[in-house]
């Protein structure tokens, strides 16, 4: 359907708002926290998110998977995770990640995980 430029310019903000809303809803995170564990502290983490003062490890990568790939396994790293035990894991789903999965027919998967290990017990 043809729209006059004035109509189009009127609808543009609505379109942008809808797109923004869509992006927001496509972007969410799920976090699982151990009720009995203590987060590994980091006095140098001055971030303004929920991880402030915690030693957070971020895995942000794109994993290639084949047709026979059922799942992706990850292990805690030694640096920043001396206890080797998990306190919290957060999985973030983004619009870009969903789009990548769609356009590559599932062969590329964006993995964005933040985890905090448990504080070492002495």
């Amino acid at each position: 359907m043809y729209m006059t430029p004035s109509k189009a310019s009127k609808r543009l903000p609505m379109f942008l708002a809808a797109a923004l809303l869509f992006l927001c809803f496509s972007c969410y995170s799920v976090k699982i926290v151990g009720v009995n564990s203590v987060p590994n502290p980091d006095p140098n983490n001055d971030s303004d998110d929920g991880y402030r003062n915690q030693r957070v490890i971020v895995l942000d990568t794109i994993v290639k998977s084949g047709v026979i790939t059922d799942g992706i396994g990850l292990k805690t790293q030694r640096e920043g995770c001396a206890s080797g035990e998990l306190h919290s894991v957060e999985y973030k789903n983004t619009f870009g990640g969903s789009l990548l999965y769609l356009v590559t027919f599932g062969s590329k998967r964006k993995v964005r995980i933040k985890y905090v290990c448990a504080k070492t017990e002495n």
Binding site: V35, V38, P41, P43, D46, D49, G50, R52, K119, T120
Partner: protein, 533 residues
């Protein structure tokens, strides 16, 4: 060997962003690994040596030195402009053997536990839970380190129990670089451990009530708290109820603490005569911007531990977009009249759900409080008999000269023996104003101005008060500490001068201590207490 990493920093901030404050050096000590030094006692003593090395280093550089843990305090009490030491990794717990309990000890061996400074309330609760024990009380959450809790007087709302420092019965302090500067301090009238325990941690023993009572709420200035001995109790459950009750009933209970003759009654929480039981915990929530005839109250009753009980944790929790809160604050700075409307809209996220009922251990009930953005908290202690009057004065001020983006609550705490405990009244009503940090605008007064006005109106109305050491306040208000504590402030200074050498008193000082006028080190007078150093 315990190792310390140095980080050259220019500033430091509290967890809730109440700074920033200038800093030269951040030091982080990690203990020797268990594989290399299997004995906890050896690692504990090794850590003490490392702390003494850091004290020497700071002293040689003419620097101040101050340990901190979880940086939860909102005042600048934890800050030192020269060197700050992060002690959260120092989290050993040492067993107390039955033969190590003092023959005159009023404490049962099975209730005594020794923890290194960096253990958080959560870690201690876990360790105690493994022995079927529990802390007697905690703050509203569990992330503070034990040393930070007692230095600032962290409390809950256990009206007949007290604050965290009130179940600390022994202190291991490092007050300087010499061997004799490691001390184990406890009350003479209530000794807990034999000298043999102190010898194990290479400490000399001091048994002195006045010194202990001053040091236990030491404002981070009584040396380095390396370890604390606590008295725990058998694990228990808390049955928690949230109710909306008549405002006058809630206030009358606050003023009288007479639960037995109150109309506030919860089914099942009554005595044999059908009279209401006295709760373990009582808290009142107040939105100052609505004229509601009812207040939300939270009451908890202590029950013997038994299993099974329902899982007190909700499996799924949703969080609010933090950016939304920031946006609301930005709007509030320009249009302060919007604040009451915003608070009303956010009430569901701020206040507990009415008619909520849970059962859990102390540890499960006062669980994690994750960082949710820049925040402020002001906290005044008044005699509970003045609760409703003080609340009205402060809420009227907030409405008439504010609004400010915060909400009120009242908690109740038994008197502490500590010299500078702000829970100094028989039962202290702690009136709290918590909210989101804002910036002063031409329409909205600053937190500093608001804090000073609160002090002024309480003084004008002749209501004796104290202020929580770890909260936001106009700490430079003239004569504030003298007004709050009178001769106790002088007594605290004298006790500090007994324990710390003049050089170490300077080293363990900070701007906060100077601001409140307690950094002086008066020489103990002829008739005063005997110097220990």
């Amino acid at each position: 060997m315990a190792t310390t990493k140095d980080f050259q920093k220019t500033q430091w901030d509290t967890l809730h962003r109440n700074g920033p404050f200038p800093l030269k050096l951040l030091q982080v000590t990690e203990l020797e690994g268990k594989a290399n030094m299997p004995s906890s006692l050896d690692r504990y003593n090794d850590a003490a040596k490392e702390i003494q090395r850091l004290i020497t280093e700071a002293h040689n550089n003419g620097h101040g030195f101050r340990p901190y843990g979880s940086r939860w305090s909102m005042s600048s009490i934890a800050h030192q402009k020269d060197r700050m030491h992060f002690n959260s990794h120092m989290n050993i717990d040492l067993p107390v053997q039955p033969g190590e309990v003092h023959s005159s000890s009023p404490y049962h061996h099975s209730n005594l536990f020794f923890f290194q400074c960096g253990n958080t309330i959560k870690e201690i609760s876990k360790a105690l839970g493994a022995h079927g024990k529990s802390l007697k009380t905690s703050g509203a959450s569990n992330g503070q380190t034990i040393a930070g809790c007692i230095a600032t007087g962290v409390h809950g709302s256990a009206l007949d129990v007290g604050s965290i420092q009130d179940y600390v019965v022994g202190l291991n302090l490092i007050v300087g670089p010499k061997d004799t500067d490691i001390v184990y301090l406890e009350r003479k009238t209530k000794p807990a451990l034999k000298d043999s325990f102190a010898q194990k941690i290479k400490a000399r023993v001091i048994r002195d009530d006045a010194l202990f009572n001053a040091a236990v709420v030491g404002l981070g200035s009584f040396g380095f708290i390396h370890g604390v001995l606590i008295e725990a109790e058998n694990r228990f459950l808390l049955k928690r109820y949230v109710r909306k009750i008549d405002k006058q009933t809630a206030l009358k209970l606050s003023d009288t603490m007479d639960f037995k003759n109150s109309t506030f009654k919860i089914d099942g929480e009554v005595d044999q005569a059908g009279k209401p039981l006295r709760p373990y915990h009582y808290k009142v929530f107040i939105n100052p911007y609505i004229n509601d005839s009812q207040y939300v109250v939270e009451a908890m009753y202590k029950k013997p531990y038994r299993t099974p009980y329902p899982d007190p944790f909700t499996t799924i929790e949703k969080s609010i977009y933090r950016d939304l809160i920031y946006l609301l604050i930005k709007i509030s700075e320009r249009f302060p009249k919007a604040i009451p409307w915003f608070i009303k809209r956010l009430e569901n996220a701020i206040l507990p759900d009415v008619n909520e009922e849970t059962t859990g251990t102390l540890y499960e009930t006062f669980w994690d409080a994750p960082y949710q953005g820049p925040a402020f908290a002001c906290s005044f202690g008044v005699d509970h008999k003045h609760s409703s009057k003080a609340l009205k004065i402060l809420t009227d001020l907030t409405k008439n000269e504010g609004p400010i983006p915060g909400i009120f609550a009242m908690r109740f705490v038994k008197k502490s023996e500590a010299t500078l405990a702000f829970t100094k009244f028989p039962i202290t009503c702690v009136i709290e104003i918590d909210g989101v940090l804002w910036k002063k605008s031409n329409k909205l007064m600053s937190l500093k101005e608001f804090s000073a006005r609160m002090i002024q109106v309480l003084k004008q109305n002749n209501i004796p008060f104290t202020i929580h050491w770890g909260k936001n306040a106009a700490w430079t208000f003239p004569g504030l500490v003298d007004h709050m504590f009178g001769s106790k402030a002088k007594e605290w200074e004298q006790q500090r001068a007994r324990l710390l050498s003049p050089e170490m008193a300077v080293l363990f000082s900070n701007k906060f201590l100077k601001d409140i006028g307690l950094s002086k080190t008066p020489p103990p007078t002829g008739g005063g207490p005997t110097p220990i150093v």
